[in-house]
Symmetry: C2
Subunit: 409 residues, 2 copies
Amino acid sequence: MPVINGDRLLRDLETLRTFGKCGNGVVRQSLSEVDMESRRWLVERMADAGLDARIDGIGTVFGRSRNPGKALLVGSHTDTQPTGGWLDGTLGVMYGLETVRAFAESRETRDLAVDVASWIDEEGTFFGLLGSKMFCGLVGEAELDGASDAGGRTLRAALRDAGLEGSFVERCVPDRYRAYMEAHIEQGPWLEEEKRRIGVVTGIVGIRSLSIRFEGQQNHAGTTPMARRRDAGAALVTFASRVHEVFASHAGPRSVWTIGTIRLEPGAASIIPGRAWLTLQFRDADEALMDRLGDLVEDLVRECNACGPVTVSIEPAKDRTAAALMDAGLQRYLEAAAERHAPGAWMAMPSAAVHDAQNLAQVLPSAMLFVPSKDGISHAFEEDTSREDIVLGCQVFADAVASILLEGT
Amino acid sequence: MPVINGDRLLRDLETLRTFGKCGNGVVRQSLSEVDMESRRWLVERMADAGLDARIDGIGTVFGRSRNPGKALLVGSHTDTQPTGGWLDGTLGVMYGLETVRAFAESRETRDLAVDVASWIDEEGTFFGLLGSKMFCGLVGEAELDGASDAGGRTLRAALRDAGLEGSFVERCVPDRYRAYMEAHIEQGPWLEEEKRRIGVVTGIVGIRSLSIRFEGQQNHAGTTPMARRRDAGAALVTFASRVHEVFASHAGPRSVWTIGTIRLEPGAASIIPGRAWLTLQFRDADEALMDRLGDLVEDLVRECNACGPVTVSIEPAKDRTAAALMDAGLQRYLEAAAERHAPGAWMAMPSAAVHDAQNLAQVLPSAMLFVPSKDGISHAFEEDTSREDIVLGCQVFADAVASILLEGT
């Protein structure tokens, strides 16, 4: 079986970290200059490993094996949040690269075909999960035309500036592949809490995102008596505080919900807010439970409108990601490899975060492996994983990939 | 007694409205290019009316009477909010100008001395009530050094760009003046509700402004279990909703309170807010009641900190304006003039908004007159007052000024 080279893996992870390094963290948003530099570096590393590698027309780095037979596709993403951690999806891409290199060094595995992808814009600078959606044929040209970043720069302009406009875009040919496999940091606290070193993912939670709008009347904060106010901000805080109460009593044990943005207009200390918005996002692996939570939000909107004096409405959800199950057979291979290298120190668990594997699962049997996140922190500069866990995770991952390809052929 | 020229007054108000006109409203923030243009236009109108007029070193337009004897100072402001109405303080400045012109046309009043001021930056683009504070000696150089607009441009830079740096700044010489008088739109609904056309202001409410800060832990909105969260946004909405409850049951009948700004950091749908801020402003004419309301906020902060898991603190208040009484003798003159021109259609009332008169009241006997605001709306493009009420208000104002100067001499 393949033996991965932990030093080589860590060295490459550290090199990739220098692209956009910011303290302990990394700022490498997709299609930025530093992201494109890192992609060119990654293409070179893939080529060194014998892959036929390039950046495709949407920004994904794709390295295709030259070996014959059914291939296994390994992927994740190297772009980051505006204040990102150094591992996140980068870990999974480098596991793929190290797997290819380790395979080439062992007689038993050197003819196995493994393709490696770094999907563009998983983090949604322009369009969440963009690369994997394109690869799986899950996004239309009109959606691409409408995509832009927080500053209003369009995806099309960013692709043009990156020199990618008009280039060929990779598309999944399902016949080529045996399966898709992705490794990622857990991003949560469960592995650490349970003192486990490997997580075998059973499924990925679904996400509902709602934007809720409050329409009142802007007015002077001194001269408008309380009884005459239609204060959109006051309605918002009451509503938001009710959401937290109602969800706390009706959600499931693994449900999470977040009000991550609030905006008051015009947003001045001396002016009664005339309009206000919040975003409410909630996640669970149980779609029926999420339907019930969605109904509760609609009840709250009706309650609030019945009381007045502010009008509340739910704006059509832009994002709605269905829960996705991971392939049971592939999970068995990951479990066996984990038990070989870390007996008793692995567990099966759902993923509470979105991953590219959600899209791949629609076209290929897919599976994911997690390594622990220190203190459960991610999407923040402090994100980290112990070097031992990084190396262990890669060995388990490479082992599982080898087993699948050897036994599956 | 003086007879004001309503057409001339309305014509000049309409001309001044063209500087920064935006639909029915006006955008003329202090020291902007269009504000400076309007100030130069105002200097010319004052000069036409016989005043010795110029823009002083802080931006205030000051027109000094050439007549002998004790003078009466009339003022208000011509700068606007980011989305301002066309009248607001502009009304009071133009009442002053029209009063001077009407006085010159009547044998009885033509030797009376009336100075007219348009105080800079009442609306606080850089520093609220700046012009009247400077004139009354209520602001230090260090405070000026620290003042900047929402975009970070300093007051010093704006003064330099406006060509005012180093110019002479007018200061109040109390011996020169009999009194200060200011007219303004009411900005509230009370006159309209009571079907009155003139308000004689008894006093101006005090204002307390608090900035409240919530310190939690930023984290991933999917992978962080609810029980482990330290969500600054969730703490903020619960706190804010409690503020509204507690104030509703403890405030006075004329008290008002507003949460006009809320900020979540980082402010993304998929990230648990690590920090959050709100501003709470409350106003009442009763300082003891305001002390009690301030104590209630501190109680809520203690409650919230006792529960955790987010730390709440009150940041030192930047603004705190004490309530100010208007001069009783001057109110009698305004009441008599109102009763002459609008018998039974005036009322005494407090001002719920801040005015430059608050500062002048610290150095001179001061009084204010209000005209109705349609639907009580102000600091918004829809702000308006009927033409009849505008003209009536000016006649009452000019009458009162004449009486004070004639009887006071």
